[in-house]
């Protein structure tokens, strides 16, 4: 039996199959928070960063819901390999989450106080790593339990990881203008391969 490998055909059905409600809710909440940050006045970079970082974590938690396939037991015997389906889901939801986060960033940059600037490259790195860790946690959970509760487990894992950085909040989430900004974000970049490798590992076919 030849393994069918035509990704283009798979995209429209997967778009219909993905549960877009959590990512949409996260997008609405992120954009709403961007509007509500220091309402009535311009936004300082410090407040904008808090909103952007929390939006990144929220979108990472929401993205996991797209990896859950309710018919996982049935589709396991389909000729399309699991890694292809899961990676297409990952890319679709990552694109949507990235768009939502970019919208939040644009909104906050437009509202930024005069004379200040947003340190965008570092913030993009942080959001990308948050999103990937959220996806990776859920991908591992979905391997064990192909139900929607796996997405909650993945989201909880991401939130626990985020909370475990709270005692070291200055070293992991630096304030704007921090002298250690570059060094800390190089460390963030060095973390980036870890969730990618986890995703590659978790998206393989489940052994029976």
């Amino acid at each position: 039996m030849r393994v069918i490998c035509r990704p283009g055909v798979l995209v429209p059905p997967l778009i219909r199959a993905i549960d877009w409600v959590p990512v949409s809710a996260a997008a609405v909440v992120s954009l709403g928070l961007a509007l509500v940050t220091t309402p009535g006045s311009t936004v300082e970079p410090a407040n904008a960063m808090v909103t952007l970082r929390m939006a990144g974590v929220l979108l990472g938690a929401a993205a996991g819901f797209a990896l859950v396939d309710a018919a996982a037991v049935t589709t396991a015997v389909a000729p399309v390999p699991r890694w292809l389906r899961q990676w297409i889901r990952t890319l679709l939801v990552a694109g949507a989450a990235a768009a939502a986060w970019a919208g939040t960033l644009l909104l906050l940059t437009a509202r930024l106080a005069d004379g200040t600037e947003m340190q965008t490259p570092g913030l993009v790195t942080e959001a990308a790593v948050s999103l990937l860790i959220g996806l990776a946690c859920t991908a591992v959970a979905v391997r064990q339990r192909p139900e929607r509760i796996a997405a909650v487990i993945g989201a909880a894992a991401l939130l626990i990881i985020a909370m475990s950085t709270l005692p070291y909040v200055e070293e992991v989430w630096p304030y704007p203008g921090s002298p250690r900004w570059g060094e800390i974000h190089r460390a963030w970049l060095s973390v980036l391969p870890a969730p990618l490798l986890t995703l590659a590992f978790a998206h393989r076919d489940v052994a029976r």
């Binding site: 959590p22 808090v50 909103t51 929401a62 997405a151 909650v152 989201a155 626990i160 475990s164 005692p167």
Partner: protein, 489 residues
């Protein structure tokens, strides 16, 4: 309590006690806080509030756990199974509302107790521990658990609780000093800020009851037994909030200036002064317990200085993190910060303070003064460097000098790297030869008398190391390096 409800409460409690969301987050909180505060001496006014605030992490876990317990009803075919049962949805909700907050509060109390125990190890805490902070830490955890259950009933979607958790923490971070929040964290850069009054605890408790009633109302708004408590707790919320916001404490908090915009002196408020063995120590009133620690660090250095010269030594004054420097204070005092080391780190604190006194005793520019300008100065080959390092050695072992690198924009606009020496004596550089001589002096008996006898000569800026060696009865062992920067004045 009816029998089914009691049985349900017991069952839910057992599940809650085993929930990894609670025990894992408790473990993380205790470990994280203990490790991050291990090397800092605690100030109870700050640590009491920070310990209570850290319980919010357990609250987040409780919110998610209670939410999942409520959503158990909606899994797969659970609705079909539970609908025909005599126990109604309201009873199941009430069981979760009783069990999860109690278990979460128990975990929070254990976490706070362990953190406080960790803070007491090898510490001399200062500040005032307000017992009100303990329930102030535990009540918001119950509120978050109840909120999770309410969200589960009204918005039965799996993602609703993570959104709720995030909104809760976002509000806490963006409006940190609003007393409308169920928990008010310790403000940064503040000394003895005004804390919310006891009405705030009542507000948090009444808010918990209101949210719990809202959760129960989802399935039985016609039940008269709910409307009255619901209305009562909502009224209690309004009353407690009004009392909190109109209390004398609120007026005092509004008058407290934001230290970040402060134009006041960094040492303003350091009014608790003591004179111990010819040195004057001034601390902020809540930090007075550390004066003996400063005396233990600086006392040996002062004792090594000849009596005739002790009157010229500066006093020690505590400074806040931000503010302006008052020249009349900084010229006659060494400024020490609002932190001190613990569990090994106190040696660095003692050495730093002793070094500042040693630098002052031997005539080096100290602290905020830069001697030869922003590039620091070089003290190689001078006798007073060795004397200063020997004075540091009376308290703690002196360490080699290092340097700090910073990026500076020159006049042409190009960023260049500037290397400034950094040592315990300030922006003063010295080499391994000076350190070696100081260590030999520390090991030598009779060094103290020789130094005392030749003090003026040894601490003169112009006296070189070679001239001083016969006075100190030392053989020439290593040649000191040529100075790399401008010599210190």
């Amino acid at each position: 309590m009816s029998r089914p409800l009691f049985a349900l409460v017991v069952a839910e409690t057992r599940i809650a006690l085993r929930s990894p969301l609670l025990w894992l987050l408790t473990l993380l909180t205790v470990t994280g806080r203990t490790v991050s505060t291990w090397h800092e001496m605690p100030n109870w006014s700050v640590e009491g509030v920070d310990t209570a605030t850290s319980a919010l992490v357990i609250g987040a876990g409780a919110m998610l756990a209670a939410n999942l317990a409520i959503l158990r009803d909606r899994r797969a075919d659970a609705l079909e199974l539970t609908d025909p049962l005599p126990v109604r949805a309201q009873t199941r909700t009430l069981a979760v509302l009783v069990a999860y907050p109690l278990v979460a509060m128990a975990y929070a109390a254990v976490a706070m107790g362990m953190q406080i125990a960790g803070l007491l190890i090898n510490s001399r805490p200062v500040g005032h521990f307000d017992v009100r902070e303990l329930p102030a830490g535990v009540l918001p955890v119950a509120l978050m658990a109840v909120l999770g259950a309410a969200v589960g009933r009204w918005i039965p979607h799996l993602f609703a609780a993570p959104v709720c958790i995030l909104l809760f923490f976002w509000t806490l971070v963006q409006f940190p000093q609003s007393w409308l929040l169920p928990m008010v964290p310790y403000p940064k850069l503040a000394i003895d800020p005004v804390r919310p009054p006891a009405w705030h605890l009542l507000y948090a408790a009444a808010l918990t009851l209101t949210v719990g009633t809202a959760a129960l109302l989802r399935h039985g708004s016609r039940h008269p037994g709910l409307v009255l408590p619901g209305a009562g707790s909502a009224a209690a919320v309004a009353v407690a909030l009004t009392l909190t916001l109109n209390s004398p404490a609120a007026a005092a908090a509004a008058r407290t200036e934001d230290l970040r915009q402060s134009t006041r002196s960094v040492t303003a408020g350091a009014d608790h002064c003591e004179t111990l063995q010819t040195t004057r120590y001034c601390a902020f009133p809540s930090y007075a317990g550390w004066i003996p620690l400063w005396r233990d660090a600086v006392g040996p250095v002062v004792a090594a200085v000849p009596t005739a010269f002790r009157h010229r030594l500066p006093g020690i004054t505590q400074r806040a993190g931000t503010g302006t420097f008052d020249p009349t204070v900084t010229s006659r005092n060494i400024l020490t910060t609002m932190s001190w080391g613990r569990n090994g780190a106190e040696r660095d604190s003692r050495r730093a303070l002793a070094a500042q006194m040693a630098a002052a005793a031997t005539g080096f520019p100290r602290g905020t003064q830069r001697g030869a300008g922003p590039s620091g100065c070089d003290a190689r080959g001078r006798a007073r460097t060795v004397v200063a390092l020997w004075l540091i050695g009376q308290t703690e072992e002196p360490l080699p000098a290092t340097s700090t690198r910073s990026s500076v924009r020159t006049d042409s606009g190009k960023p260049t790297e500037r290397v400034v020496p950094a040592s315990d004596l300030g922006a003063v550089d010295y080499g391994p030869a000076e350190l070696a001589y100081a260590r030999r002096l520390l090991a030598q008996s009779g060094a103290r008398e020789r130094i005392r006898a030749n003090w003026t000569a040894l601490t003169a800026p112009a006296t070189t190391l070679d001239e001083a060696l016969p006075l100190l009865n030392l053989n020439r062992s290593a040649a000191s390096e040529t100075p790399k920067g401008t010599p210190c004045e």
